[in-house]
Amino acid sequence: MRSQILTGLASAIALLAAPIAGHAAEGTRVQVTGEIIDTWCYYSGVMGSPDAVVGSAHHTCALWCSAGGIPVGLLAEDGTVYMVLKVGDDAEAAGGDTILNLAAHTVEADGMLYQRDGLNYLVVSEVVSDMDITNVNHDDYGNVPSFSIPDPNK
């Protein structure tokens, strides 16, 4: 009995120790299709519901946030968010030109996925297809935030 308990405890220790010791991230090749989003507005709720801070309704704000260096994400069709760290040869994921020009676009990306501490990080090898903006939602939500389009009457 004692030896069985010891064996069980040793297994438990090994199981608990594994996530601590094994921190080196291992990438997995993936192909993902989704929208290039502004992750801060999406996660924080600062501008409204998740459905309102994507697509054409949020295009201008997505430009502001991307140019401002806020992390850009790829929101896949299943709702998974991938934090984009690099696109092709451009590692300037904090305000770089490549990522800025994809704001609110739906893309098909081929790359390497790294997972750590509850987040998905994506290193895009190639944008296989850039479908421009396909999420046309401004009739439902207006422009988000409302000041993203300057009032022409002022």
Partner: protein, 186 residues
């Protein structure tokens, strides 16, 4: 046996949920999932940490930077600096890449949406130095864009943003779609 149980508890402790709000002086942004968090961490280049692609200057503020928390080795991803101006945190952290700092700010904790270990950075403190506010982004932008001086916030004057809006429109669907939307809504 007692030794084994103690060892088990010791190993298990970092995996338990930890509260980093103690001592935090973070200002609330009234976000539904915000949790104040002050902790010590190493500033890292996330791409370098995950893939081994490591420039000497950590990307000089152009790459996304992370915070590897000393208490539990968790990689926290700072998404936002302290300015309410659509501005990220990489520029704030870049001068400290590779250093151990104490940061204060707000964790955004919404696992259902996938928001795990993401952070709004408000202050940075190195060793015994005074803490500094994470609000340098707009000053750096102004320094890098001397030709974009003028009234209004930076995002109305940024040449790259203006160029895209001039061709794709505010809604990103072309200028004709913008015109119709503005006519109906303003």
């Amino acid at each position: 046996m007692r030794h084994l149980i103690a060892c088990l508890a010791l190993i298990a402790s970092p995996l338990a949920a930890q509260d980093f709000s103690e001592g935090s002086e973070a200002r609330s942004w009234n976000l539904y999932a915000e949790v104040p968090a002050k902790f010590e961490a190493e500033v890292v280049d996330v791409l370098c940490t995950l893939t081994g692609d490591c420039p000497e200057d950590c990307g000089a503020g152009k790459r996304q930077l992370g915070l590897v928390r000393s208490a539990d080795d968790v990689l926290v991803f700072p998404m936002k600096n302290s300015q309410p101006a659509f501005t990220g945190a990489a520029v704030e952290l870049a001068p400290f890449c590779g250093q151990t700092v104490t940061v204060d700010g707000l964790m955004i904790d919404d696992p259902e949406l996938g928001a795990n270990n993401v952070y709004l950075l408000q202050t940075i403190k190195v060793a015994d130095a005074d803490k500094i506010k994470a609000n340098q982004w707009t000053k750096v932008w102004a320094k890098n864009h001397p030709d974009a001086k003028g009234k209004g916030p930076w995002f109305r004057r940024d040449p790259r943003i203006k160029d895209i809006i001039a061709t794709e429109g505010y809604l990103g669907l072309g200028l004709e779609v913008d015109e119709a939307f503005i006519a109906d809504n303003f």
